[in-house]
């Protein structure tokens, strides 16, 4: 059935009306619809396409004409209503992600002149040429692509090193710079652990574990799987270590790699020994002979490495005074106290000077003191300190006032039977103690762990939060807290080598300090993820020169360079 509907004095441009005609023609029960302004020329077209009618003849140029051909039973008014609705809702269908796109490097850099990192995911055969051009333009580069020859990798890394640029990869799947995850990466807490990794999922696992243990990551610099091999010789590993050594947001460094070539291993380890920041090394595939070697801590598994790193990572390098050499531990749990004593004895090789353990001392060596306040000596006529926290709170001021105290080590035991708020009961004494020590010119560090779960009625997270608010460093378990305390003393006693490391080249320093402005070359999804996260990103939809025709590419080069 053919009908002509006229909407007088309703102007729409012809593009809108052509789109509308398509849309309405696709409605169920509709044969075809043609919507046009009633100009003489348009009326000719309507007649020629089967919409002639007496109403059409009377339409004026300013009238909207709907030629409607519907199947029997379809209400023409329905089609007209649909048309009116569609004209009201003409806004573009998709909101743009705001991701600007270029098809050449020159244009991409015109859009984002402040780009400081290129993320490259293009076929391996084209990587060497493309990345050489990026290094020429002083861009740090992360190469996600694989299938790049070792000769090309060496050449690119040498060039990058000479120009003072980071070259992560090839085959670098994961990195995180200034809290910005690149390529495959997890959303983890920011923090002070820097990672140097020759393995994508290795870096991901360590980052994720650090996050789960309550730690955080400053920067994760990827190397690609071959950097620590004999051919490349650890060029970027050494650059990354130097960069993290100078990075003020990093206090502990983790190296993740397959076992390096022997000569490279020697070079990297001796370099790591000279750093002021502790280094955890996990060389997956070999079982470490020793747990520590000077500044290096070895881990067997990725989770171990994460745990060691969280234990080592303090709030920067503690400024202990000359008298502050000792750990003072006040425990409420006996076995926890004994575990602490065991770890301290092992690590420091000290001999217990008070094997009788009178007055609840489970360790007394030099100035190190570990006291179990649950010992019989303290519970006569008083409740156990897990039930009544005031006993420990009363002893804290003396510990803070002791000039020998560097670290105060505590356990917080929650759960059934324990006090309603053991952490809260200690907070006033901790805050006052820290304040008094500070006034006396001493920076004391309080380290604790909470023994309990999220199901406990005191609330694990709540107890941790109260302690952290009082500037207590909370580790995930007692052993970690003890190792952290030991690390603080070790770091503090290491002679500072600040100024001995080469300064970080300006383009790398700027990348870490300001965060990445990313030029993404290749896989669009990487750029979309970054743009969605609010990272300044430009997408370069890369294609091989002349569509991959190497002869034409050669002609173009010849014409450019003749």
């Amino acid at each position: 059935m053919l009908t002509t509907a006229i909407k007088p004095n309703t102007y729409q441009d012809s593009v809108s009306l052509m789109l509308l005609s398509q849309q309405l023609s696709a409605l169920p029960g509709v044969n075809k619809v043609s919507v046009m302004m009633g100009t003489p020329a348009n009326k000719d077209i309507l007649r020629a396409t089967g919409f002639d009618s007496p109403e059409l003849a009377s339409a004026q140029p300013g009238d909207l004409v709907l030629g409607v051909d519907v199947e029997d039973g379809t209400d023409v008014a329905y089609v007209v209503t649909q048309a009116e609705e569609a004209l009201k809702n003409q806004a573009s269908r998709s909101a743009s992600s705001g991701l600007r796109t270029a098809r050449s490097l020159a244009r991409a850099l015109k859009i984002a002149p402040s780009a400081n990192l290129a993320l490259v995911s293009i076929p391996g055969q084209y990587v060497a040429d493309e990345v050489a051009g990026l290094l020429d333009r002083d861009l740090n580069v992360m190469i996600f692509s694989d299938n790049v020859s070792i000769e090309d990798e060496l050449q690119l890394k040498r060039t990058a090193h000479e120009r003072g640029l980071l070259l992560m990869g090839p085959d670098c799947g994961t990195a995180s710079i200034h809290g910005v995850p690149l390529a495959f990466a997890n959303a983890v807490s920011g923090g002070n652990i820097g990672i140097v990794g020759a393995s994508g999922t290795g870096v991901q696992e360590v980052m994720a574990q650090i996050d789960q243990l309550g730690g955080g990551v400053s920067n994760a610099i990827g190397l690609g799987g071959r950097d620590l091999g004999a051919d490349i010789g650890g060029i970027m590993c050494l650059q990354a270590l130097a960069t993290l050594e100078n990075d003020p947001t990093t206090s502990t460094i983790v190296i993740i790699s397959k076992p390096p070539a022997p000569a490279v291993r020697k070079r990297v380890e001796s370099y790591a020994q000279r750093l002021t920041k502790p280094v955890v090394a996990v060389f997956l595939g070999e079982k470490p002979d020793v747990a520590t070697n000077g500044n290096l801590v070895y881990a067997y598994t990725l989770a171990d490495a994460a745990a060691r790193a969280v234990e080592l990572a303090g709030r920067g390098r503690p400024a202990f005074g000359p008298t502050q050499r000792w750990i003072k531990a006040l425990y409420t749990g006996g076995t926890l106290a004994n575990e602490a004593a065991m770890l301290i004895r092992d690590q420091l090789g000290v001999i217990d000077s008070d094997p009788a353990h009178a007055q609840g001392y489970v360790l007394r060596s030099g100035g190190h003191e570990i006291i179990d306040l649950g010992d019989d000596a303290y519970t006569q006529g008083r409740p156990h300190p897990m039930i009544d926290p005031t006993a420990r709170a009363e002893r804290l001021p003396a510990v803070f006032d002791d000039e020998g105290t560097a670290v105060v080590l505590l356990d917080i035991v929650i759960g059934f039977g324990a006090a309603d708020d053991p952490a809260g009961a200690l907070v006033p004494a901790i805050e006052e103690g820290l304040e008094r020590a500070a006034q006396a010119g001493r920076q004391v560090v309080v380290v604790a762990s909470v023994c309990g779960t999220s199901r406990d009625f005191q609330g694990y997270a709540d107890q941790v939060a109260k302690l952290r608010d009082a500037h207590v460093t909370v580790l995930p378990n007692n052993a970690a807290a003890v190792r952290h305390a030991l690390a603080l003393l070790a770091t503090s006693s290491r002679p500072s080598t600040a100024g001995e490391t080469e300064p970080t080249p300006p383009r790398i320093a700027q990348l870490l300090e300001d965060g990445p402005t990313v030029l993404n070359i290749g896989l669009r999804s990487f750029a979309e993820t970054l743009a969605t996260a609010g990272v300044a990103t430009v997408q370069y939809d890369w294609a091989p020169v002349a569509g991959g025709d190497s002869r034409l590419a050669g002609l173009l080069r010849a014409l450019d360079n003749a």
Partner: protein
């Protein structure tokens, strides 16, 4: 980069951006185009050289209309006979002219005369006939012929008189610069420029001694013809590109045109030679009742506007017509011009586009960039029905085929004596 190529390209784009096209006259084609002045039967056509039997049906229809208009034959059958044997065909481009769609131009058709004051060279183009049944889309019935006669006898002479009242011709660059800020890209959309032109012609026509009713008809025609300025823009671009062509070095595209069979380009360093590849068929939106299957392959000299950096190259200037390229609206228009920016050597500071952050229109298509990126110029175009006489059935865009740029690059390498190291 090779200094001589880049230096030449810079000189060419300088000539392009400083071109001064001025409308100086409207005359019969035979008065200004030598090849049409003689007694032999000659028709100009769009695109690179082509024979009558190779032409698309609409272009053949245009030829029939031209033969009937010239009175060389009395009916279609006679006209076809004549066209197959006794008419010489030659491209508009070989005679300083350009023509829309079929581009068929015969000796007595009215043409506008545009002079590029920068070099003093002239370019010619027929006038826009409006829409519906028109010669350029292959229609040739009595109404088409009657309109061509009116344009020859009334419209042309009237506008010529009006233009003669201007002290030094009617300058087109200022008008183009104004209209590009009003949403025209000068291929798909010319409504602002056409309105500005009509606004200026009104008082001039009123000052002539032409009969009031004739003035009224002329002004009515200008008022009704939204695309009137397209042909002026084409002649302006042709005059600018021909001036630029005097520098016979470099890698800048100096003409792009289509004849329904081949797409052809000229390149600055390669003189008058055409580099061709089979045309693509436009894609776009169709009037209800028509479809892509009925679309005529790409034709017309109107892509001279893209050669100069207008039309599809400056899509971002004309948000009103961007939905011909897709449903994405403004962001698609931006993406289109951003993409075209990859294959040009600069921007035309005299044609600043507000919606592009006042960046100038893309300037100087470099075939090296086209081949390197595989991005070919995008051309905004009307879509003709394959069936002659039906006329326009839609509008959309079409890509220049890459192959003609590759051929030109090979020739350029020979000219500059370079070979590929990857042979």
């Amino acid at each position: 980069m090779d200094d001589s190529i880049n230096a030449a390209n810079e000189a060419i784009t300088e000539l392009m951006s400083s071109g001064q096209p001025v409308l100086v006259d409207v005359v019969r084609a035979r008065d200004v185009i030598d090849v049409l002045a003689g007694d032999s039967k000659v028709l100009l056509h769009a695109g690179p050289p082509i024979t009558f039997d190779e032409m698309t049906p609409p272009m053949q229809g245009s030829c029939i209309g031209a033969v009937l208009f010239e009175g060389w034959a009395q009916n279609e059958q006679e006209a076809r006979q004549l066209l197959a044997h006794d008419v010489t065909f030659t491209p508009c481009h070989h005679h300083g002219a350009v023509g829309p769609m079929g581009g068929i131009t015969s000796p007595n058709m009215a043409v506008i005369v545009v002079e590029n004051r920068l070099r003093g060279n002239r370019a010619y183009c027929t006038m826009n006939e409006g829409i519906g049944k028109v010669l350029r889309f292959g229609a040739y019935d009595a109404s088409v012929i009657a309109r061509l006669e009116w344009m020859r006898d009334i419209l042309g002479p009237s506008l010529a008189q009006a233009v003669r009242l201007t002290p030094d011709g009617y300058a087109l660059t200022p008008l183009i610069a104004r209209a590009i800020t009003m949403g025209d890209e000068f291929h798909q959309r010319n409504i602002a420029a056409s309105a500005l032109f009509a606004k200026d012609m009104g008082p001039l026509l009123a000052r002539t001694d032409i009969d009031r009713s004739v003035v009224a008809d002329v002004l009515q025609f200008l008022a009704d013809t939204d695309q009137f300025f397209l042909n002026l823009a084409m002649a302006a671009c042709k005059s600018i590109m021909d001036a630029a062509r005097t520098i016979e070095e470099g890698s800048i595209v100096t003409a792009m045109t289509r004849n329904g069979k081949d797409f052809a380009i000229r390149v600055s360093g390669l003189g008058d030679e055409w580099f061709t590849a089979p045309v693509n068929t436009p894609k776009g939106l169709y009037f209800t009742g028509y479809s892509q299957d009925e679309a005529c392959p790409d034709m017309g000299d109107s892509s001279i506007t893209e050669t100069f950096g207008l039309g599809g190259m400056s899509m971002i200037a004309a948000p009103g017509v961007t939905r011909f390229v897709g449903a994405g609206g403004f962001s698609d228009a931006l993406a289109t011009s951003d993409e075209m920016d990859e294959i040009v050597v600069g921007h035309n500071a005299n044609l600043s586009i507000p919606t592009w952050d006042f960046q100038g229109a893309p300037l100087g298509i470099d075939i090296r960039k086209v081949v390197a990126t595989s991005i070919t110029p995008i051309i905004n175009t009307g879509i003709a029905s394959l069936e002659p006489g039906v006329g326009q059935i839609g509008a959309g865009t079409v890509r220049a085929p890459l192959a003609c740029f590759v051929k030109a690059l090979e020739a350029l390498a020979v000219k500059y004596g370079v070979t590929s190291t990857d042979d």
